[in-house]
Amino acid sequence: MSGYVGELRRGGGPSVAFWGMAMLVASEATLFGTFIGSYYYLRFGTPHWPPTGTPEPRVVVPLILAGVLATTSLPMWLAARAVRRGGLWAARFLLVWALVVQVGYLVYEVHDYAHQLHRSVPQDNAYSSIYYTLLGADHVHVAVGIVLVVWLLWKLLGGLTTYRRRAVQVVAFYWHAVNVLTLIVIGVLLSATL
């Protein structure tokens, strides 16, 4: 009835959903950019960084953990590929794989965050304030990502649709962004030991 004239072309670039996520990522990345800018602004106005009496951040464990979290980009990427070819079970498996690592990361990090609060608190000085704010903001983004993956798995129980396929691709994109963000944030925080 409503004939589409022959102007329809496949492959008009990323979907509307993808662009929506790109906007979110751009906005969040700018927020973190501002946090990191503030970190260095405060640092270069302070003679000792971290200030004497405040413990330096640990180096090895956070680096390894950030690296482990970054590996989840692989299953997320594969899941986004799998749904394009209709691989429902592959997508479910890959998402669970990613979820296990992500949850493990967050559980350890939250535990560690609470542990660090015994040694120093955000109320100590400007260094502690920005340290805990930056790290906490990153953890929040990981937590949101985990909620998204759980939601995806729940949605995929009902099979695959274009909407859900795009949801997987979009959440995968979010996770790539969060992984890069985490590496940068950890790098910035560890720069205090240099």
Binding site: M1, S2, G3, Y4, V5, E7, L8, R9, R10, G11, G12, G13, S15, V16, W19, G20, M23, L24, A26, S27, E28, T30, L31, G33, T34, F35, S38, Y41, L42, G45, T46, P51, P122, Q123, D124, N125, A126, Y127, S128, S129, I130, T133, V147, W151, K155, G159, L160, T161, T162, Y163, R164
Partner: protein, 630 residues
């Protein structure tokens, strides 16, 4: 005739629910635009009332209409209201929402429910900030809220917490709108509308939206830091503990200067639509103007520290930012010359909307010239915090942002209501407002150069400032009268105006090709576009009518909307758009609860409210589009 069958079919499919529920649950960009319009108008009245109270207080030396504490609240709320709750939501929320999809030949925004959410969040933030006034805790440290004045030590109580949370809350609404505009412009343009065929209005809104998206996070970070400092005990701005007061100013102005362009660039967009319609001529140097609109915002991100020349920054920093600021002159001037040349080479009919645009160009050039003066650093340090600065930015913000808003209100009134406004009262309202604002703001230059400081609730006699201040106050009353004439004219026209027809001005863009007011589905046929002045391409419009008769490109099998490629406008797919939904207002409600609980320090409650947000989001995403593909 077959044409009517298709239109009735589309009407049945796209019509909203009847009654109040149809407004509460609406996802229609036109309804959301109107909601924004009425809400911002009320807030404009509030901001205007604050301005009148300020001017009345300053009518003569040693006046005591309001005390110093109330005066602080008045100028703070005036600034916050006019910037965050009037101009941004009026240009993006009202004009952008209503017109942008119409100009690109779309049936709605890319994310209709997100659009509704942004309105309800905006409304929530407006109510939130104004609650503070009724509780006697209105923000009182200026709209830029400098620390340490705004720190817990010097400003205890909830006033600044209202500011911090209200600004973050409002920023969410603006970010959502900005993201929605960007994706709508990139993906929902009618097939065939490549970037070079997009109206300049859309370029302006694209530029402003990028600006909002990248500028607001800086303000959010800043207000988050301040909220933590005040309520959790962190030390971001506490010099004694390694913090920095200048950090507040840097972050604030990294947002604050792009903000200025975010305020005026949409107004440029309005101007670039009104000028072609009333000169019947394409805008001179179209590509240059389009690039200039984008460049103004882009360069606007690199000039923030010129608000801080008096803070003792290193000389080299000061000089860098002075030079960077000078660069903004180039894209601004390109546009001014393009507008003027379009006037000169076209056949100008000075109807009310064009008068407002002419007034806008005059005010913008005047405000721009005083802006250039600030580049001279010693001069800037001399006049910082005087009324000279107040004069400058009111010429820019009232002259260059609000004048086009008024012009746009007259220009699109026939499109939105289907009625013509009355021309003579319209022109009278322009002249009253034009004379009123110049009488209001020009003497501020003089008293500013004579050293009258901003933000003081009164001034002593014997300094020779009395006459100028009296003139300013009279000017503020005259301006108010003009605005009342404008609004009454539009109100009376709405009930008594003659019918306008689809295209009273022979306008250039796609919104003039459809009936007034536009039908719920906007376009019966997805329009063919071969230039940025689509309504002047007679053959394309003829082709659209032919297609409608044959049912081609009608897309009437649901809420259908073509999606295109970002640059070339190739048709990529047909998307199903969501219909009325209760979730946006519910989500905005849940977010309001979060902000209220944060204000009251109920941290556990906040956690529960956040869980509530997740639940609402689950409900939101429970509605999936129907799909053929399995």
């Amino acid at each position: 005739m077959a044409t009517l069958v298709y239109e009735e079919r589309l009407e049945r499919m796209w019509q909203p629910r009847p009654g109040v529920l149809g407004w509460v649950m609406t996802t229609d960009h036109k309804r959301i635009g109107l909601l924004y319009f009425w809400t911002t108008l009320v807030l404009f009245a509030a901001g205007g009332a604050e301005a009148l109270a300020i001017r009345t207080q300053l009518i003569q030396p040693n006046e005591h209409v309001v005390g110093p504490a109330t005066y602080d609240e008045l100028f703070t709320l005036h600034g916050v209201t006019m910037i965050f709750f009037f101009i941004i939501p009026m240009t993006t929320g009202a004009f952008g929402n209503y017109l942008l999809p119409l100009m690109i030949g779309a049936r709605d925004m890319a994310f209709p429910r997100l659009n509704a959410l942004s309105y309800w969040v905006f409304l929530g933030s407006g109510l939130f900030i104004y609650t503070s006034l009724f509780l006697g805790m209105a923000p009182n440290a200026g709209w830029f809220d400098y620390v340490p004045l705004a720190s817990a030590k010097f400003d205890p109580g909830h006033a600044i917490d209202f500011y911090c949370l209200g600004i973050i809350f409002n920023g969410v609404a603006s970010s959502l709108t900005a993201a929605n505009f960007i994706v709508t412009i990139l993906k929902l343009r009618a097939p065939g509308m490549s970037f070079n065929r997009m109206p300049l209005f859309c370029f302006a809104f694209l530029a402003a939206s990028w600006g909002l998206l990248f500028a607001l996070p800086s303000l959010s970070a800043d207000t988050i830091f301040l909220f933590l400092d005040r309520n959790v005990g962190t030390h971001f701005f506490d010099v004694a503990k390694g913090g920095s007061t200048l950090l507040w100013q840097h972050l604030f102005w990294i947002f604050g200067h792009p903000e200025v362009y975010i305020l005026i660039v949409p107004a440029f967009g309005i101007a670039t639509e009104i000028i072609p319609a009333f000169t019947q001529r394409r805008v001179v140097a179209f590509p240059l103007v389009a690039v200039a609109e984008l460049l103004v915002v882009f360069i606007g991100f690199g000039v923030w520290a010129h608000h801080m020349f008096a803070t003792g920054m290193p000389t080299v920093t000061v000089i860098f930012f002075a030079a960077a600021t000078a660069v903004v002159v180039i894209p601004s001037t390109i546009q001014v010359f393009a507008w003027c040349m379009t006037f000169v080479t076209g056949n100008a009919r000075f109807k009310t909307p064009l008068l407002f645009i002419a007034g806008f160009i005059f005010m913008f050039v005047a405000g721009g010239l005083t802006g250039i003066m600030f580049l001279a650093v010693p001069f800037d340090q001399q006049v910082t915090d005087t009324y000279f600065v107040v004069a400058h930015f009111h010429y820019i913000i009232f002259g260059a942002a609000v004048f086009p808003i008024f012009g746009g209100m007259y220009f699109w009134f026939p499109k939105v209501t289907g009625k013509l406004y009355f021309e003579l009262p319209g022109q009278i309202s322009f002249w009253i407002i034009f004379l009123g604002t110049n009488l209001l703001f020009f003497p501020m230059h003089i008293v500013g150069l004579e050293g009258m400081p901003r933000r003081n609730y009164t001034y002593p006699s014997g300094l020779g400032w009395g006459t100028d201040n009296l003139a300013e106050t009279i000017g503020s009353y005259i301006t108010t009268v003009g605005i009342v004439v404008l609004l009454v004219n539009l109100l009376v026209s709405y009930f008594r105006g003659p019918p306008a027809g689809p295209d009273p001005w022979h306008g250039a863009t796609l919104e003039w090709t459809i009936p007034s007011p536009p039908p719920d589905y906007n376009f019966a046929v997805i329009p063919k576009v071969s230039s940025a002045y689509a309504n002047w391409d007679e053959e394309d419009r003829e082709e659209d009518r032919r297609k409608l008769a044959e049912g081609i490109m009608v897309l009437d099998e649901g809420h259908e909307q073509p999606v295109s490629s970002p640059v070339d406008g190739w048709w990529a797919e047909v998307a199903k758009m969501p219909h009325d939904s209760p979730w946006p207002i519910l989500l905005a409600l849940a977010m309001s609860i979060v902000f209220i609980l944060l204000l009251l320090h109920l941290w556990m409650g906040t956690a529960f409210a956040l869980a509530g947000i997740v639940l609402v989001l689950l409900g939101w995403h429970g509605e999936e589009p129907e799909e053929a593909e399995a």
